[in-house]
Symmetry: C2
Subunit: 110 residues, 2 copies
C-alpha cells in the first residue's frame, strides 16, 4: 500500500522531532561531562588558593596582590579570545572565582 | 670561621622566605594551568548550549526547562561534595553560567 502524502509528511515530521530529541540528549550529555570537569578543576584550584592563603598568612604577606591579579586578568582575556569566549565574560568569571577565594579565606580566619 | 648566631638565624630566615617564594610560584603556575582548563572547558560548554538554543528555536521548544535545570543542580551539588567543594558554591556557579547562556541566547536573538 502506498504511503499517503499527509502520512508521509507526518512521518518526516516525527523523524525530525526524534532526530532533534536525540541531538538535544547528546548535547546535554556533553554539557554534564563538561560540568564535571569544571567542578573538579575548581576543586583543584581552590586547593591551591588555600595553600597560597596559608603561605601568605605564615609569612605576613598581604592577602591581595594587585600585580598578580592584573597579570591573571590579562592572561585570561587572551585565553578567552583563543577559546572563542567573550573576554568580558572571562573577566567576570575570574572575579566570581576570586570572590569565592576571599570568602574561603575569611571563613578560615574566623 | 664559625657562623655567628645572629647570622645563622638570618640565613635560616632567608631560606624560609626563598622556600615560601618558590612554593608560591609553583601554586600560581598550577592555578594558571587550571584557569586555562576552565576557560577552554567553558568555551566547549558554550558551544553545546548554543547548539541546544538553536535546536530549541528550530523546534519551537521553550528556552528554559525547569526539570532539566533541577536535575543539573542536584547533580552538581553531588559532584561538588565529591570534589570537596561547597555545594552552595556549585549552585551559585551553575547560575552564573546559566545567566551567561541566557545572555548569549538574547544576543543571538537580537
Amino acid at each position: 500500500m502506498p504511503i499517503r502524502c499527509s502520512n508521509r509528511k507526518d512521518m518526516l515530521l516525527t523523524d525530525a522531532v526524534t532526530r532533534a530529541a536525540q541531538l538535544l540528549k547528546e548535547h546535554r550529555e556533553s554539557i554534564d561531562r563538561l560540568d564535571a570537569i569544571l567542578v573538579y578543576t575548581l576543586g583543584e584550584r581552590f586547593k591551591h588558593t588555600q595553600a597560597v592563603g596559608e603561605l601568605k598568612a605564615e609569612h605576613d604577606l598581604p592577602p591581595s596582590d594587585p600585580t598578580r591579579e592584573a597579570t591573571q586578568i590579562a592572561r585570561l582575556e587572551h585565553l578567552a579570545t583563543e577559546a572563542n569566549l567573550d573576554p568580558e565574560f572571562a573577566k567576570k568569571f575570574l572575579n566570581f572565582i576570586i570572590d569565592e577565594v576571599i570568602r574561603h579565606h575569611k571563613k578560615h580566619q574566623s
